[in-house]
Symmetry: D2
Amino acid sequence: MIIVMKPDATRQDIQKVEQRLLDLGFHTHPIYGEKKTVIGAVGDKSRIDPSNLARMVGVEAIVPIMKPYKLVGRELTKEPSVVDVGSGVRFGGEELVVIAGPCAIEGEEQIYQVAQAVKKSGARVLRGGAFKPRTSPYSFQGLEEEGLKLLYQVKQDLDMPVITEVVDTRDVELVSRYSDILQVGARNMQNFRLLSECGKTKKPVLLKRGLSSTIEEWLMAAEYIVSEGDSRVILCERGIRTFETATRNTMDINAIAVVKELSHLPIIADPSHGTGNWKYVNAAARAFVAAGADGLIIEVHPDPQHAASDGPQSLKPEVFDELMQVLKPIAQAVGRTF
Amino acid sequence: MIIVMKPDATRQDIQKVEQRLLDLGFHTHPIYGEKKTVIGAVGDKSRIDPSNLARMVGVEAIVPIMKPYKLVGRELTKEPSVVDVGSGVRFGGEELVVIAGPCAIEGEEQIYQVAQAVKKSGARVLRGGAFKPRTSPYSFQGLEEEGLKLLYQVKQDLDMPVITEVVDTRDVELVSRYSDILQVGARNMQNFRLLSECGKTKKPVLLKRGLSSTIEEWLMAAEYIVSEGDSRVILCERGIRTFETATRNTMDINAIAVVKELSHLPIIADPSHGTGNWKYVNAAARAFVAAGADGLIIEVHPDPQHAASDGPQSLKPEVFDELMQVLKPIAQAVGRTF
Amino acid sequence: MIIVMKPDATRQDIQKVEQRLLDLGFHTHPIYGEKKTVIGAVGDKSRIDPSNLARMVGVEAIVPIMKPYKLVGRELTKEPSVVDVGSGVRFGGEELVVIAGPCAIEGEEQIYQVAQAVKKSGARVLRGGAFKPRTSPYSFQGLEEEGLKLLYQVKQDLDMPVITEVVDTRDVELVSRYSDILQVGARNMQNFRLLSECGKTKKPVLLKRGLSSTIEEWLMAAEYIVSEGDSRVILCERGIRTFETATRNTMDINAIAVVKELSHLPIIADPSHGTGNWKYVNAAARAFVAAGADGLIIEVHPDPQHAASDGPQSLKPEVFDELMQVLKPIAQAVGRTF
Amino acid sequence: MIIVMKPDATRQDIQKVEQRLLDLGFHTHPIYGEKKTVIGAVGDKSRIDPSNLARMVGVEAIVPIMKPYKLVGRELTKEPSVVDVGSGVRFGGEELVVIAGPCAIEGEEQIYQVAQAVKKSGARVLRGGAFKPRTSPYSFQGLEEEGLKLLYQVKQDLDMPVITEVVDTRDVELVSRYSDILQVGARNMQNFRLLSECGKTKKPVLLKRGLSSTIEEWLMAAEYIVSEGDSRVILCERGIRTFETATRNTMDINAIAVVKELSHLPIIADPSHGTGNWKYVNAAARAFVAAGADGLIIEVHPDPQHAASDGPQSLKPEVFDELMQVLKPIAQAVGRTF
């Protein structure tokens, strides 16, 4: 880490900072510039919260040099990780993997209808919400365990891995029994207890990016899961919050290339939430595949006008099928099987 | 609600939308403009997720007319609420109430030292974190129940209400036993299960605004708590995330006047997190008092350089004492006792 | 437009608003709901700044129904516009058009070297800055007219249309003499005088989106140009400002689909500024082509380490050439010739 | 500046970077950590665009140590500047200075009426727009020179300095003849040519913060003016663009304390644009005075319902008068005369 001293820091101020660093077990390397002195500190940062040094007299700023994440970063693990979720489905490998299904499971007929349709179109994993985080306490909150059972039944019948969201530490064990992949939603990206509980199950976890999370914070959230010994984390870009109101969120297309550089984890994209409007899903899906995403998660509903949740952004099965056709040559153009 | 039809919507499209609305129990009032038709729909919106109507052919947009929050809004409850947290401390009344204490409880000596100091300076409530949500899994996570016990001990000895954060639904009952006020942090503002559990305790809840939450979403989060029958909610503006990096967050000073207009709940401000830098806390605290906040929550630590958490933004007790002196005439200028 | 009255608006308040609307030449259509009254106002909004009605007693909100832009919108002009910039280059048609060149023109050798290379790789238009808007007054500000002359010379020699930025109303005439396309940069997107002056030249104008501009504001800026009688406007998404710092800007991939729906103007993307890092340019370029952009503008420099401006985000000619190869199958997959 | 090398940078990579720095006239100070090497470079940064070094093999990041602004910063000029605008009005001194007047000058009667009223209430400077930057080309664009003449007439009659916006380099000379202070609006904050032209007049310049400008970019914009030899710059915080839509902008209350730390220039606030709603102006004005702003600029109109521009956020003269009364004790509480 580098400590930048103020232009008017005295020699005594500098010595005190050096002494403090030495006491903490660092080696110090002061560099005296014309206007400012900086002190390079070499050693183990984990013994100290470096931000506290900012309180010392004469200190202008602290510049960290090492990335705060270790297990999910590229510095230790050079090769990209491949996350196997069962039934031969692997995220982060050569194949582009599409997850599809309704926002919320509404009943047996609905989930079967969607599952069969999306499977036929080429989706490899079925999504369906049983516990729904809703902005309003008066909105439909999901079928809960009944929904999980329906999901499990479909999974068995169609031999298709399933994913569903978990929103409460108390439900992690329950959801783990039914679902192949645990989904942590954007609003819970920094629900650190939930991250740890999910990590303890050692199941694959899909971690959505928070609405206002930097990529670094997102990787730190993944680090919570991996530090519990669960290395099967899949990241999911689903749009961030900006001033633009023409779409529900602003999708950070750059995040794919940045995450690929910083982390070895697979990353997929959610154009349904990222746009909030079924009319824009196709373009966003194409774009993320072209940018190098390892997969997509897309909301499909047989009758979006009557959906219990997220109707405006859900595709009808036939529209989803067209999208899957459109994606093929793009996936191939970027070297993916699909 | 108002349904805006596209310029090229046909008469048939319009009729279908009207029929759908009638089926849902609405009365419809179409207005035919030169270029566009709009349909006013009068009735009970709660039977329907209006966003789904956006899927109908010819519909351009849906404009809600009623506020989505009911219990926390001003439409039903005209008078400002006063939240009594015990020991004669009331938020939302004439008195400006200051909460102070360390970010994290680190030990008996530390918490007593701070508590006595801030009480002497005029703070009415003691804060202290026992469960800490930290960006990194490698950072200090709090003393947990041991911390709660220390907090309770201080509360008893100094007859001072205490507040501490709860980060897990599984801890709500435990924290409720020790703390007068439950704090829901910014990262958990849309952890709806946690909100509901807190509401069920019927204890006062301090609800911080999420980093990327609109005021409407914040009020909807409060609605979750109040809809459980717990009307003692205190809102807390603690800064939102923007592009500016000179401070940890951007404090939304306008939020005070807006919330006062839209809601009857008391609102306080957290200049420690809102600035992230002890040097700026004084100015922000003054500003929020002048803007009409009902109180403040401020981090105070006897030795910020060695704080386990949030050292850079914590005030030393003597600096906090000066701040309290500075606030007096400003509080009086806006009609507050202090 | 719709006027939403407050729940406690009196019959008299409502009548006064209606009277005011009638005086302004509107027809009024009040709808009396259970809690609120709304008044539909049909007529010519251009006679009045509707926001002023918000000042009347009892008014809660004003909801506009018509889009504020006319000439650039899809409501009047259904078919997509094709912008011909000379030498057979057309934006918005079937062909994907790539603009490439250095951020700043630094000298004859440099601009020729780049121009020949990018032309060979398939770029159709040459970019090169002669007037540079720089954050610091101490940075290189461009070769000015000398640069324009070099650009013009290359244009003549290679029969390649050229584009360069204009940053001052006083330079519009000068730049028009040398350049085929006038570029209005992100920082000048709401420099309305500059927009009008550019529009008066009747030359093609490339209008970059402002760093914090909504799509609606961007279209309104285009409306300034078109309202001067210049219909040859090309929009350019170049990233917006968000909280994310891993990249220079956040590229709004959704903007392509949204603009295509709202406007008939062609739209291209600038992955160089949108990422700020040459390593991410390839992924962003692929994504925007897949999303349906009509073209790209990319910074290429023979020696980015020694570039006078934007070195970090410029591609070397050989890297640009690889990119052009990669784009081919993606362009074809979305139905473009390239 | 500090160059951070990647963990896998070779000794040769490091040597090449050092050699490049030596060639550029820097002294180098490499520090070899366990995982990464950093190189301190001491010397004159102005000879080089340091961002280009990021292109060298093995370089991870460049960390600047010196502030990019010189003339407006506190490093060279320790004492706060006081900007004298004539008639005994000084910004940045002990007195809190309030600028008031209509958004746009609409006619002789209007401007006289407002001027007399605000002067009586204690405003020291009169504002009034003659050239209006409007989002729509179809909105009122100002009375132009006729407006300037009216402003000048009032200035003479009431011995009150006046301020008006300049939006075009071609108008700078004209506006300078009539106005005591040149206002550069938010949308033109990075119209660098306009900044330079204003600086050349040596007149006081009020520089509003751009909607999406960091404080550092704002100070760099001020540096453009001061580097022309015009040291009389007044900064004005007017709200930034965020995701919150309840108000027109989000006012950055922290900006006052930050700017006071980083720069010697006076800073005022514009609660009219910062809120966009006259109901919130009072609270924001109180807050900024309490935070330490050197003044305020407030829109006042005799008949906001019929204002040509910004009706919703303009105060009636009597409401402005009440505000001025409310501000007195707050100004005094923070040590201001008023």
